[in-house]
Symmetry: C2
Subunit: 200 residues, 2 copies
Amino acid sequence: MTSDRDAKSTSRSSYHHGDLRQAVLAAALDVIAAEGPGGLSLRDLARRAGVSHAAPAHHFKDRPGLLTAIAAEGYGLLADTLEDASALRERGVRYVRFAVTHPAHFQVMFRPELLRADDPDLLAAKERASAALRTGVADLPDVPDARQAGIAAWSLAHGFATLLLTHNVTAAVGDRDPEEYFRSLAGLLFASQLPSPEGE
Amino acid sequence: MTSDRDAKSTSRSSYHHGDLRQAVLAAALDVIAAEGPGGLSLRDLARRAGVSHAAPAHHFKDRPGLLTAIAAEGYGLLADTLEDASALRERGVRYVRFAVTHPAHFQVMFRPELLRADDPDLLAAKERASAALRTGVADLPDVPDARQAGIAAWSLAHGFATLLLTHNVTAAVGDRDPEEYFRSLAGLLFASQLPSPEGE
DNA sequence: CCCTGAACTTGACACTGACAAGATTGCTCC
DNA sequence: GGAGCAATCTTGTCAGTGTCAAGTTCAGGG
């Protein structure tokens, strides 16, 4: 990242930054992961990128604009993560993995009051993730209401992920892998319906 | 509230407000429920209470102080709600009810980066709620790891509550009572262990 | 070569949280 | 009943923030 920047990249001598949008996004994710969205300062992000205080606004318009871009990116990444997982339980595990590996995205995605709800990119990405989340819920045996079963699975995964990120279950999980821990949790849901505890 | 205020209450003619702490807390809960903790402005709260801009600081020190007080109150209320519920599933229902009836408290309680984690009142209230949450998990039949079962139940309730407050399951729940909806969700957890779907 | 639009800068305004120092008040104790 | 004292609230100020408006630099195509 420090090699080929002579032409038009992150060198601060050039008037144009070259890749400011990405730089601001990356810095924003760092800050959010460390201090939450409340700790975000557009001026601070500009400073980190070595750029004037109003430069980020040209790419994201304003604060909601930046956070909406992050949320949309997050839903896209989540959809990517979920799409090639066959079994329902495995998708739950990947949901938890996404929250752990992309905590900043995850937080912002579920703070609607910070986002521009009608943003087309956001809506599209959210719909893609939502579709990936829904697939394969109907083929569970002995589950009367498929939609309700999907909500149950989502609640379990989302709740565990949230409690994990808010340091509310760190003691219980200990030094075990959170994904593995969730895998056993998921065994308690639909316990009677699943063929066997290992049935993946 | 507008009757007996001549002596020393909310009348703006008196130098002392009389009950500023409660007034600020109430106003803060309104704002947080509507716009989240990020929309909070101490100066705005002071304005609503008809008081100078620095008055709230005397009661809560600073922003984290106010939010920590709210979180502590929330954990207390949650403990009250949970303590007189016998069955595990009923405690889950009450957890959801608490989130719906006290959305501002609920949000703040699970945003550790906004709180003063070492506040004694907060720690005490949290411990009380935590104890109320744990009781009776061990007496589930056929559940090998009680702690893990507790985490699963908490995850399910917390996830559903969170998704509810972030408007992510409003379409699925429809005009049904969220508590009733959760009651059926809870039937899917420990489905094989529970004696019967209605076994309360 | 110019010119047009994108990327960025500069400057300003209203607002915020926090702090310090002073004013007012109710309570207690003599 | 009056003096002092601590709690409560005010006033003034400071650095920092988001957002807008207007100007500057720059790259690429006619």
